[in-house]
């Protein structure tokens, strides 16, 4: 973990990620990488795997209702 020494402070950078859950069950990371099933979030700080079969995440990957057509 890289420490940024700034004056009297020892700062660690916080990395912000955004994951978009698409209707096609594909997910997208802010970096632009796309994947299905398992996605690997990697940064200089850590690497984290997100399993999409987890129920809490699965709910969010369900396709949205199709808009009604008249």
């Amino acid at each position: 973990m890289k420490v940024h020494k700034m004056g009297q402070f020892n700062f660690i950078k916080h990395f912000n990620f955004t994951i978009n859950f698409g209707r096609d069950k594909k997910i997208e990371v802010a970096s632009g990488k796309q994947s299905e099933g398992v996605i690997i979030l990697s940064s200089p700080l850590e690497t984290k795997a997100v399993d999409l079969s987890r129920s809490s995440i699965n709910k969010r990957t369900k396709p949205l209702k199709s808009p009604k057509t008249t």
Partner: protein
């Protein structure tokens, strides 16, 4: 700024959703010129470093949202708050940032352990001088 215009206090407010930039800080530091921020955290001192940038591809950066009137800004940084366990009311409130230089760029540091500040009034000196 026209005659009689008033600029608000100089502070950054911290809450569980992220940061709010006061009009005094926004105007004085010309925050309207920036679009992104990078956050740093010192877990020992409970200090937050804020670097304003225009690099839209800055790795791990947060988006700076400008107010409609162009005098304030907000940063939604819930991931920062919850990752570092900062969702504690004692840390919340107005903090007067200190500016430090780091490799040619300016970092604004706020101390979460410091009690709530009322903020420095940007017009304080001007008003004292007024008749």
């Amino acid at each position: 700024m026209g005659v009689g215009s008033r600029v608000g206090s100089y502070f950054i407010s911290f809450n569980k959703s992220g940061f709010m930039i006061s009009s005094g800080f926004y105007m004085k530091e010309k925050i309207k010129d920036f679009s992104k921020i990078v956050l740093y955290f010192d877990s020992e001192k409970k200090a937050v470093g804020i670097e304003f940038t225009n690099n839209s591809n800055a790795e791990g950066s947060f988006t700076l949202i400008h107010g409609n009137k162009g005098t304030t800004g907000t940063i939604s940084a819930r991931s920062f708050v919850f990752t570092h366990n900062l969702n504690i009311p004692e840390y919340f409130g107005r903090k007067v940032p200190k500016k430090i230089d780091f490799q040619g760029s300016e970092i604004f540091v706020i101390d979460l352990l410091r009690p709530e500040d009322q903020g420095k009034d940007s017009n304080e000196s001007a008003q004292n001088g007024a008749v």
